[in-house]
């Protein structure tokens, strides 16, 4: 497994974002803001040496597990997996098409390397907890289970059942990473159904909590290192992220939770141009590389 430097990680994440826009443009539907916002976390997990995996042996029993609970951000998972070598990069253009292994929401039985099937929210943490519990039963305490959840997903009751279970059983080999981007389909999470104080809620359920900037590779790596070291509790990493990160007109705008290019929004590029503008912005690292503009 190739471990990248900070600078390389930044470039990798940028390319992953470009691939997300390209594949969504090709598919014509899918979610935008979440995948862009989590691109840095996924890049770090797969390319900063934080997770044990072998793309050529997706069923390798010694691997760490990554459970994507909020299945709708799967574009970022697919792109990262392609970059990690799980399947050919060219396959990304089949997203959401008939016969594809890259289903609209992830289906484990179709694509080797996926740990579960998800889409309906709130059930990933329970599955991850079950995996962590089972691994501990077999004495595999160093094999880690990562579960990625969205913030809006915390409105599901099943998730709190899992939180209680993991806290009670001191599942130290379980780390949940919350994509705290504050948006959901109907608007701001705090307007739809307030989640704060989220950190205190996890702590009250006997979890260790770390809050980080979800776009800072050092902080992501540091938090995962700490999570692995924490002995007596499961860990929750609250990753504060910017939805749509990397594309100026998409950032922090709940209208881009879903697919871009579906409506003309005053002040934003026209809908037909949104994909192109987003790509140009990402290719130039938000204008830092001017030659791309010409």
């Amino acid at each position: 497994m190739n471990v990248l430097t900070q600078k390389e990680l930044k470039l990798k994440a940028d390319i992953i974002r470009q691939d997300i826009i390209t594949m969504l443009t090709q598919a014509g539907s899918g979610h935008t803001a979440g995948p862009l916002g989590m691109a840095d976390v996924f890049t770090a997990l797969y390319f900063a040496g934080l997770m044990k995996y072998d793309p050529h042996k997706p069923d390798w029993p010694e691997r760490d597990r990554l459970v994507l609970s909020n299945g709708h951000i799967n574009p970022v998972l697919y792109v990262t997996m392609a970059h990690a070598g799980y399947f050919p990069h060219a396959e990304l253009k089949t997203l959401r098409q008939f016969g594809t292994r890259l289903q609209g929401h992830p289906e484990r039985t179709r694509l080797p390397g996926l740990e579960t099937t998800s889409g309906p929210l709130g059930s990933g943490m329970s599955q991850a907890a079950g995996m962590a519990y089972g691994l501990q039963m077999d004495g595999k305490k160093h094999q880690h289970v990562f579960c990625l959840v969205s913030d809006g997903e915390h409105q599901e009751g099943n998730l709190w059942e899992a939180m209680m279970f993991a806290g009670k059983n001191k599942l130290r080999n379980l780390t949940v990473i919350v994509d705290r981007n504050n948006i959901q389909i109907d608007g701001n999470t705090e307007d739809v159904m307030p989640l704060e104080p989220l950190s205190m809620k996890y702590q009250a359920f006997n979890w260790h909590v770390i809050e980080i900037d979800g776009h800072n590779f050092e902080e992501i790596a540091g938090a995962v290192g700490q999570a692995r070291a924490i002995f007596e509790k499961p860990t929750c990493i609250i990753a504060h992220t910017i939805p749509g990160k990397g594309v100026d007109f998409m950032e922090n705008d709940s209208r881009f939770h879903g697919m871009f290019g579906t409506a003309d929004i005053p002040g934003d590029p026209p809908k037909a141009e949104q994909g192109k503008v987003a790509l140009a912005e990402l290719r130039t690292l938000q204008g830092k590389i001017r030659s791309e503009h010409e």
Binding site: T117, S123, E161
Partner: protein, 333 residues
């Protein structure tokens, strides 16, 4: 048996006390508890999960023998099946229990997505199904579970007739590697089979041979069907009785073979007839061998408090109701 009695299939090795007052009464959930313990001894990857009902679902036996393989989930049925899915993902064989009203009553979507679509080897045990739960009333009398589980792809659905069959079904399920639902009842019911009786997942058993009408039953009502056949014989009606313990995959071959002989079929179940055994048999026969199918079961109602005999009478699923239905059918031209 005298020559006046019904033609009990000797291959079935049924209880010798079938129509006597001496017949043993045991809740079929007991058989599950024994089966899980026995399966647990043979396979250490079997784990047991319960949602705060360890004793009444009879998981207690396993818990005592293998405390390190028992996981208490608390009153959280959604977590029950999803933690089960996660355990299956790392090679465990989870058996998860609660009352059928709560699991699969409350957690259907989690079963659909994380167990069936995800194809994980989790066995869902729903105890206290049917109106025979008795005094607890409608909330605890699960009637829709067969329908709910039967429509899920990858799912096997089993409704054992008695405690011995529940034990065998549990042990057989422990050897399969796909999702399954096992439906159990609360009350003591007649033990009609013996250790020697055949049991196979996906196989319906012809308990009594007859030629006028086919009675296809599942669960504790198989005994009511037997009693009905016994009584009908006195009225010169020869009823074939089939124990259809596996609702899915349905053994349509056995049922069609019988229907070819009798030309009319009655299904008998302690569940909603819509989508239940009655639904399954009707669907199979309508395309493969269309004969009239009459469905004895819960007719689009909820349960209520009462004793088992009061409730079986009220909901018209006991042997009296079966006899009445058969006589009405036979009278038809």
């Amino acid at each position: 048996m005298s020559k006046d009695s019904i033609h009990i299939n000797t291959h079935q090795k049924l209880s010798s006390e079938l129509f006597s007052d001496e017949i043993t009464l045991v809740p079929n959930r007991m058989g599950f508890g024994e089966g899980l313990l026995a399966a647990g001894k043979l396979d250490e990857s079997i784990v047991a999960l319960c949602a705060d009902l360890t004793e009444s679902t009879q998981m207690e036996l396993f818990k005592e023998a293998f405390p390190e393989r028992f996981i208490e989930i608390g009153v959280a049925e959604q977590n029950l099946v999803t933690v089960g899915s996660g355990l299956a993902a790392v090679g465990k064989k989870p058996f998860v229990t609660s009352y059928a009203g709560f699991s699969p009553g409350r957690n259907w979507e989690q079963i659909r997505t994380t167990i069936c679509l995800n194809n994980r080897n989790v066995k869902i045990i729903g105890s206290h199904a049917g109106v025979s739960v008795g005094p607890d009333g409608a909330t605890h009398q699960m009637l829709e579970d067969i329908a709910l589980m039967r429509v899920l792809s990858n799912m096997t659905v089993i409704v054992p007739a008695d405690s011995i069959e529940a034990r065998k079904a549990t042990m057989a399920l422990a050897k399969t590697d796909s999702p399954a639902y096992l439906r159990l009842a609360r009350e003591k019911t007649a033990v009609i089979t013996t250790d020697e009786s055949p049991f196979e997942i996906g196989k319906a058993q012809v308990l009594v041979e007859g030629h006028d009408i086919t009675l296809v039953a599942c669960g504790p009502l198989v005994y009511e069907a037997l009693k009905a056949a016994h009584e009908l014989h006195k009225h010169h009606i020869s009823a074939e009785v089939i124990n259809c313990a596996t609702i899915k995959p349905l053994d349509s071959t056995t049922i069609i073979e019988s229907a070819k002989k009798t030309k009319r079929v009655v299904t008998i179940e302690e569940a909603q007839i819509a989508g239940g055994l009655g639904g399954a048999v009707s669907e199979a026969l309508s395309t493969q061998y269309a004969v009239p199918v009459y469905r004895v079961g819960i007719q689009d109602r909820f349960g209520q408090s009462g004793t088992v005999s009061q409730l079986w009478q009220e909901y018209e699923v006991d042997s009296e109701a079966i006899i009445k239905t058969v006589k009405e059918i036979i009278k038809k031209p």
